[in-house]
């Protein structure tokens, strides 16, 4: 008999999970928050997202060609990096800066290490931090979201006064004109006595605040994160440890000195913590592989975020915290290796991460 049958090693069944499916499901989980940011900020957000994602995929393709590797643009990882990077940037950022960020993320932080799976640092965060250091003024010019009247997405400038009497005139056609510090930046400048004047938790939850596109709706980000948790794309360890640490840290400092430090709700709902805990710190490649290591990673990222927020040189610390913890991943992997079934001691993993 010469029927050519397929002969391969066991197992002969797979779970159906594939790298592209995982990457695109994370993109899907970010879609509501992305759509909301576009609705909130209009064209400045849309253009930043579109250009950043485009250039990330473009550089990924280019690197693949240069390294003579099978095309990886459709696996979704570059698009996801682009989306996360874009959501961490201020809407209205000059588009050429977005392209530079994409270059740093994909080429410098990922491809030179060997591409998907080999990069020690989160590419999107490396790209963002590069831009923050290289273009500090552009990276801290935050648009105020439009006071939505439900009329037009890209409509006429709307001028209103907010609770503090600041002009929050919103000119989408006049991007450079109207910006304001983010709530977290205000807190940093003026201390917690302004907390009472800041937008309430409901506004934070809904995201009707100024900030980067991905810092706006804590609720939609949380929903996306829980979607990933339920679909078992991510495990609970990192987000729970991260958010729990931030909450605990904020609660303690707030108890010690309520006039300087804001409470846990403010810290959980403002800035990039929600985005970071669910979508950035959970990046497989740059986070620990074992449950205990993931918890340590989340706790460390939470502490660093709060230290930077409260006492560091920048108002927001999520991207620095994640990058610093990325550097610790090999240690966490070495320390938290599982003990083989029935073994008395853990195995050594050689020099491998």
């Amino acid at each position: 008999m010469s029927t050519p049958l397929i002969v391969s090693a066991s197992p002969h069944a797979t779970s159906g999970a594939t790298t592209p499916k995982i990457m695109w499901s994370v993109v899907l989980a970010l879609a509501p928050a992305t759509a909301y940011a576009i609705w909130l900020f209009g064209y400045p957000a849309l253009s930043v997202i579109a250009v950043t994602v485009f250039f990330c995929v473009f550089f990924e393709t280019l690197c693949g060609l240069a390294m003579r590797r099978p095309p990886t643009a459709t696996d979704g990882s570059a698009a996801l990096t682009g989306l996360i990077l874009a959501l961490s940037l201020p809407p209205g950022l000059p588009l050429w800066i977005c392209a530079v960020g994409a270059f740093v993320a994909i080429v410098i932080s990922k491809a030179v290490f060997g591409g998907l799976g080999q990069n020690p640092f989160n590419p999107a965060m490396a790209g963002r931090v590069f831009l923050l250091i290289a273009f500090p003024a552009d990276l801290t010019r935050w648009l105020v979201p439009q006071q939505h009247t439900g009329d037009t997405l890209f409509g006429e400038p709307v001028t209103t006064l907010d609770a503090q009497g600041r002009i929050t005139e919103y000119g989408l056609t006049n991007v450079d004109a109207i910006t304001a510090a983010t709530p977290i930046g205000l807190l940093r400048e003026k201390g917690a006595n302004i907390v009472a004047d800041l937008p309430g938790n409901i506004e934070f939850l809904l995201g009707h605040i100024n900030g980067s596109a991905g810092e706006t709706s804590a609720f939609l980000l949380l929903a996306g994160g829980i979607f990933l948790l339920i679909r078992r794309v991510i495990a609970w360890h990192i987000p729970v440890a991260y958010l729990g640490t931030v909450a605990l840290f904020a609660a303690i400092t707030h108890l010690v000195d309520p006039s300087t430090y804001a409470g846990p709700a403010f810290h959980l709902l403002s800035g990039g913590v929600m985005m970071g805990a669910w979508f950035i710190a959970t990046d497989y490649v740059t986070s620990p592989m074992f449950p205990k290591g993931r918890i340590l990673f989340g706790v460390g990222a939470g502490i660093l975020t709060m230290v930077i927020r409260l006492w560091g040189g920048y108002p927001e610390g999520v991207s620095f915290a994640v990058l610093l913890m990325n550097a610790c991943v090999p240690f966490f992997n070495a320390w938290t290796r599982p003990k083989p079934f029935g073994a008395t001691t853990a195995t050594s993993g050689g020099a491998q991460q």
Binding site: L5, V7, P11, H12, G117, Y284, G349
Partner: protein, 440 residues
């Protein structure tokens, strides 16, 4: 009844509904049977017949080639037409006794102990098991009488019968537990008697409630404990089963008997019952024939030595190019090049897949998602073992406990990058063994 389980493992698609309700039918014996002398772990059996000899059904045609070996019997009456190398299910040629069936099924006479087996001593019973050619019928094919003869310094307090049948698609053990519940329970009691083990446990996955009921009923009035196990692969792995049923953990590199336990498969227990009570040797076994390319899936009592091609013919199954033929289940079964191989003692299933289910996907880079780590029931780091194997880092692979891997396939099943982890770890294990031999 609480549901017991182990840590790690996966939830593959079980696909058992196609054959679970189909009563086992005897399959007509073929004209020619091929009985490899090595159907078990250990030394090959030694043929005791010559070409041209006439044999009766049930007659011994090969004797054990050592202590760890097993006898082979003629599943049909007829003549020995050849003793020559033939293709076997593990991809090699192996010496085999070829019988031409006279279709008379003239049977030799058997003398069992009947229900009075409890009067016999352990050695007598163990000898009956050895003479019946019984090996582990779950797939491992380890000679059963060896497991019934632990070293004198080991005390066995518990015998577990493995009715988990966690391999997807397969329903052979399920049907056996329904149709021969009394034989399974009686087999367990015989094994307990041989080993002097006071406790007997039968573990069955909770997706077989009818088998749980049938076995519980058969075990009524005995001290045997029937436990319901979580539906998770590899629930039937020996160490996982012991962990689930008894909360005992077999130490690394040790055997179940080191924690006072011996595990046998349901099929083995039933075969031991038949060997002791009826004096009948192992001549046939239940084989589940199923898969996406099988139009008439079935559970068959198949004579050992029946060519797979003969079985497939009866299931109206054509092998299509680019399809897959697997002996065993999808997780640990072996893909075959052709169907000219015999059903042997360890053949629990014949799985035929359509081309769309047989495609192997190219591996993409590891994204360190950790799914393989979460899936590994031995708590290894398959991703890392795969990397060590690929780089031929032999000492590192050994230090990372590559030899603990039982090749259950959970890691590769879970891997979204389709990295052939089991294949790589097998390579690492072979490298480790080769390096150890070189040192000696």
């Amino acid at each position: 009844m609480s549901i017991l389980t182990f840590r790690g493992g996966i939830h593959p698609r079980y696909n058992k509904e196609r054959t679970a309700a189909l009563a086992t039918k005897p399959l007509a014996a073929p004209d020619e049977l091929v009985l490899p002398l090595s159907q078990h772990i250990g030394a090959p059996a030694v043929a005791t017949v010559s070409v041209g000899d006439t044999v009766l059904r049930g007659q011994t045609i090969a004797q054990p080639g050592g202590f760890v070996s097993a006898a082979i019997h003629a599943p049909v009456s007829g003549t020995v037409s050849a003793i020559e190398p033939r293709p076997t299910g593990n991809g090699t040629l192996g010496d085999a006794i070829v019988l031409t069936n006279d279709h008379q099924d003239t049977e030799t006479s058997y003398s069992g102990l009947g229900e009075d087996w409890a009067q016999a001593d352990a050695a007598t019973l163990r000898d009956m098991v050895a003479r019946a050619g019984i090996v582990g019928l779950g797939g491992a094919a380890f000679p059963s009488h060896v497991k019934l003869a632990p070293p004198p310094d080991r005390t066995i307090d518990t015998v577990i019968i493995n009715g988990a049948e966690c391999e997807p698609w397969l329903t052979a053990d399920h049907r056996l537990m329904l149709e021969s519940a009394n034989a399974v329970v009686s087999g367990l009691r015989i094994i307990q008697h041989i080993l002097g083990a006071p406790n007997g446990v039968i573990g069955i996955e909770a997706n077989k409630p009818d088998a749980l009921r049938a076995i519980s009923q058969a075990a009524t009035g005995t001290p045997i404990r029937v436990v319901s196990l979580a539906v998770k692969y590899p629930q039937g792995g020996e160490k996982q089963l012991i962990s689930a049923c008894l909360k005992r953990r077999v130490p690394q590199g040790k055997l179940p008997m080191d924690v006072g336990v011996v595990v046998h498969n349901t099929g083995t227990a039933a075969a031991i019952h038949r060997a002791v009570v009826d004096g009948r040797p192992l001549l046939e076994r239940i084989v589940t024939v199923t898969g996406t390319a099988v139009s008439q899936p079935a559970n068959y009592w198949v004579r050992l030595g029946t060519p797979v091609a003969h079985v497939l013919q009866h299931c109206q199954t054509e092998l299509t190019p680019a399809g897959k033929l697997i002996l065993g289940g999808p997780m640990m079964g072996i893909a075959q090049k052709h169907a000219d191989i015999p059903v042997v003692k360890s053949t629990s299933g014949i799985l035929v897949l359509q081309p769309k289910d047989a495609t192997t996907r190219p591996a993409s880079p590891c994204i360190r998602c950790g799914r393989c780590v979460d899936a590994c029931p031995m708590f290894l780091v398959p991703q890392e073992l795969g990397a060590f194997a690929r780089l031929r880092m032999i000492p590192e692979a050994r230090a990372a406990a590559a030899l603990d891997c039982m090749e259950c396939g959970s890691c590769a099943h879970a891997c979204p990058a389709h990295i052939p982890l089991v294949q790589l770890i097998r390579l690492a294990k072979a490298d480790i063994h080769a390096a150890a031999r070189k040192k000696m």
